[in-house]
């Protein structure tokens, strides 16, 4: 197990270095700069800004300066927000993005497992077809369509919930959670159904039933434990996907999370912020994948070496 962890961390370092290098090269080669403004900046002011943000140095010097900064945890100042460091912006955005991802995964698990179990218990009946077809739709509808639709129906027509924000008004976390979580709920439902169907046909379930255990006990205690294996393996990639999905959902709902900062930074050519958030997202995704590998290894001894 330790071996696996060390090996994965060993791979993660070159991955992160590649991400930093490629992102660095890409942001600097993108046309347009952070100080291109509608009211043209005078040459003297531009020179001052470039000096202040170290942009007057050759690219290679900037690159190594940046790397040595990152090593000691300094991601540099934001170009868009004078006086704010990238670390400050990430520390504002990250907890919110995390919270959103967490609620979404909880929602996805609750709804997905419930629907999946229901489908598996009554396969090929209406109780199976309806949730499973709904799940298929859930997987297919992108959040960019689902979000505004939910806003229109629940926010504008029914006036049940706020249409934007995060923690600014009661209930404003509901629609973003649903928007981001729906596709994953659908995946969970299909995975649970598949896993459960396989388990429910096994001998030990038949034995349990023959012993006269109640159906609930059979399902919850005996079947669910094994039936959920595919769902657990899916959690790591799902968490990574949720973080990436937050870009869109945060933009739709105006949530001040890291995803929105990232998108905004790209439009504003906020070089350091783009780099800083790229690194953060990479670290998160690498960690979640590692975590899900570890869980999978724990469940399946064949994967351990």
């Amino acid at each position: 197990m330790l071996n696996l962890i060390l090996r994965r961390i060993g791979i993660a370092i070159p991955v992160l270095l590649t991400v930093i290098t490629l992102t660095f090269l890409m942001v600097h080669s993108a046309p347009g700069g952070p100080f291109d403004e509608e009211k043209a900046v005078s040459a003297e002011v531009l020179a001052k800004l470039n000096e202040r943000y170290n942009l007057d140095q050759p690219l290679s010097v900037q690159y190594f300066d940046y790397l040595s900064g990152v090593l000691v945890g300094d991601f540099g100042p934001s170009f868009r927000y004078p006086g704010r460091s990238v670390t400050e912006l990430i520390s504002i955005g990250l907890p919110i993005t995390f919270e959103l991802a967490l609620y979404s995964i909880i929602f996805a698990l609750c709804v997905g497992i419930f629907a999946g179990v229901l489908g598996a218990l009554r396969p090929n009946t209406a109780l199976d077809y309806i949730p499973m077809s709904t799940a298929m739709i859930g997987i297919c509808v992108p959040s960019i369509i689902l979000g505004p639709t939910l806003i229109l129906v629940f926010g504008i027509w029914l006036e049940l919930v706020p249409v934007s924000g995060w923690g600014y008004m009661p209930g404003d976390k509901i629609l973003p959670t649903l928007t981001l979580g729906t596709a994953y709920a659908a995946y969970c439902a299909r995975l649970t159904r598949g896993g459960m169907l396989e388990i429910l046909n096994q001998d030990f379930i038949r034995t349990a039933r023959a012993k006269g255990l109640s159906e609930t006990r059979v399902v919850v205690v005996h079947a669910l434990r094994g039936g959920l294996t595919p769902v657990i393996a899916f959690l790591g990639p799902a968490m990574a996907g949720l973080l990436a999905g937050s870009f869109v959902v945060e933009t739709i709902f105006g949530i001040p999370g890291l995803g929105r900062f990232y998108v905004e930074a790209a439009f504003n050519r906020d070089y350091t912020m783009i780099l800083g958030s790229s690194i953060f997202f990479s670290v998160l995704i690498v960690s979640f994948n590692l975590l899900s590998d570890l869980v999978a290894a724990a469940l399946n001894p064949k994967l351990r070496d």
Partner: protein, 533 residues
């Protein structure tokens, strides 16, 4: 029963998080909180370093200058200055300050203004608006580093409450400039507590640190979420202030802003989605507001590129442009066709309006210039990605094709690429817009002076430059306007820029907001605004 339990848990989560959902706009009758859609997230709240409209709206609440703008007509009203004297040659101004206070209780003094103007003009601060004060003696020299001694600059504190300003030329618009945020004061002790006098990104603008002298104080600044300001007890005219708080919500997406307005989250929007304008004009005529704005939408021409280096070609392009069709059939937001660069101005400057729509004359000009549809190269029209600009560009493409046989290729790029291509002269025709910083033709015509940062066309005309210098030195307003008129005539004959329409401000406003009167600069002093049933 596990799944039932999960189901119940989830239901509880959903219902529990619903809570009582009273739209803020409804409860504002009681709370007197004004909720505003405010465009993009402000970069900072330092009046001497910011440049954007969202920042200006917030600074209007937080810091007050020597004068403020009248909520209807924009003529300057006393702010920190209770009155002022202007010498007969129009070059010396003496401002008499009232007993005004900073939000920490300190008095606002004439020295605060000297300090602030010194700071704003320091080359090391890197302010992007130093030219707002260039009319002051030696201000430009100081800002450009030609002199180091600020005492040579024409602003002096005679005593704590008397400020004397000497101008290098009479500037009848000078008092109006003093309503602009770049000329407003900052609190010296606060600036220096949190950084250097000239350090950009000084932490003094954070909530808790901020000291201002405006009708409101900064309470909270949650990035990408809200900026909350609260009525200031130390403001000199606090009795007039009827709002308890203002929440500025950064909403850079018109559709989301529209959703928020319709669900009662904000009182006033900063814009309306283009496709909704017509619908709302019919459905909610009492909520949609369309008012003229002091800005011009135009096409910028790179006169270093053939065939656009030929004046006749530029004139032909302008003559074959049906501006009325653009405003009525394409833009559809009440815009006014522009036949001059300077927008129509009630301030008695009437710009020359020689431009017209005449496709026949356009064809002839093109022939005289030696071009036929066959030998005309394809021209690129650059604009930043936006549906509105795209529609106008497509209409132009069609008009120029039909009327002149010119092939136009449309290029849209993202904002920063669009700006950088214009800065570096890497374009042929580019869509552009300009909003006046103050209500005077100078705020438009100065832009086209040789070598100015926003000229960006490569155009240079000595006579034009000289006329503007003459205008600056004129002692009477009528003489000044006469020179400007002549200058603008040259500009509209040479056409390095082709005006298309005068902007309108289009926004939604809840009927409970009173005192939000339309004006050309879309400037609203919050002490005149109230929420009433």
């Amino acid at each position: 029963m596990k799944y039932k339990f999960l189901f119940i848990l989830f239901s509880v989560f959903l219902i529990g998080s619903c809570g009582e959902n009273v739209p803020p706009v409804e409860s504002s009758y009681e709370t007197k909180i004004l909720y505003l859609g405010n465009g993009t997230e402000p970069k900072d709240l330092d009046p001497h370093t910011v440049t954007g409209v969202p920042e200006s709206k917030i600074l209007m609440a937080l810091i007050e200058g020597l004068v403020i703008r009248h909520p209807d007509g924009l003529e300057p009203l006393p702010g920190v200055a209770k009155n002022w004297d202007i010498s007969s040659d129009g070059k010396e101004y003496v401002f008499y300050l009232r007993d005004a206070f900073w939000s920490n209780g300190d008095p606002v003094t004439a020295n605060d203004f000297v300090y602030s103007w010194n700071r704003m003009l320091m080359p090391s601060l890197g302010s992007q608006y130093p030219d707002m004060l260039y009319d002051v003696v030696n201000a430009e020299n100081f800002n450009k580093g030609l002199i180091d001694d600020f005492s040579l600059v024409g602003v002096k504190a005679i005593d704590a409450q008397t400020l004397k300003v000497n101008l290098r030329n009479p500037a009848p618009y000078f008092v109006e400039l003093l309503a602009h945020y770049t000329t407003r004061p900052v609190h010296k002790a606060t600036i220096e507590k949190h950084g250097e006098m000239d350090s950009m990104g000084n932490q003094w603008t954070r909530p808790g640190n901020f000291v201002g002298n405006g009708p409101f104080t900064l309470e909270d600044w949650k990035l990408n979420q809200v900026i909350r300001v609260k009525k200031s007890p130390t403001y000199w005219d606090a009795d007039r202030v009827k709002l308890n708080e203002i929440h500025f919500l950064p909403i850079d997406n018109p559709t989301r802003e529209d959703f928020m307005f319709r669900s009662g989250r904000i009182h006033v929007t900063s814009t309306v989605p283009t496709e909704k304008i017509e619908v709302y004009r019919e459905q909610y005529p009492d909520q949609i507001t369309i008012t003229p704005y002091y800005g011009t939408y135009y096409y910028r021409i790179n006169i270093n590129k053939s065939p656009l280096d030929n004046k006749l070609v530029r004139q032909a392009l302008s003559l074959s442009m049906d501006r009325e069709k653009i405003t009525d059939k394409v833009a559809k937001g009440g815009q006014i066709p522009a036949f001059s660069f300077t927008p129509p101005d009630p301030n008695s400057y009437f710009p020359p309006t020689t431009l017209e729509y005449n496709p026949e004359a356009a064809k002839q000009l093109l022939e005289i210039a030696g071009y036929t549809p066959e030998n005309l190269p394809t021209i690129e029209l650059l604009y930043n990605t936006s549906e509105g600009h795209q529609k106008i560009a497509e209409a132009m493409q069609q008009m120029w094709k039909e009327n002149l046989g010119i092939n136009i290729v449309l290029t849209n790029t993202d904002w920063k690429v669009y700006l950088s291509r214009q800065n570096t002269g890497d374009y042929e025709i580019a869509r552009a817009g300009w909003i006046g910083d103050y209500q005077d033709p100078k705020s438009f015509l100065d832009m086209m002076v040789t070598g100015r940062g926003n000229n960006q066309t490569g155009w240079s005309n000595e006579e034009y430059d000289n006329l503007l210098i003459k205008a600056a030195n004129s002692t009477s307003q009528s003489e000044r306007f006469m020179h400007m008129y002549e200058a603008e005539k040259i500009l509209m004959d040479e056409l390095p820029i082709i005006p298309i329409y005068t902007y309108t401000r289009i926004f939604m406003k809840h009927q409970s907001v009173k005192g939000w009167n339309p004006n050309l600069l879309d400037s609203h002093a919050y002490q005149y605004i109230s929420i009433e049933e």
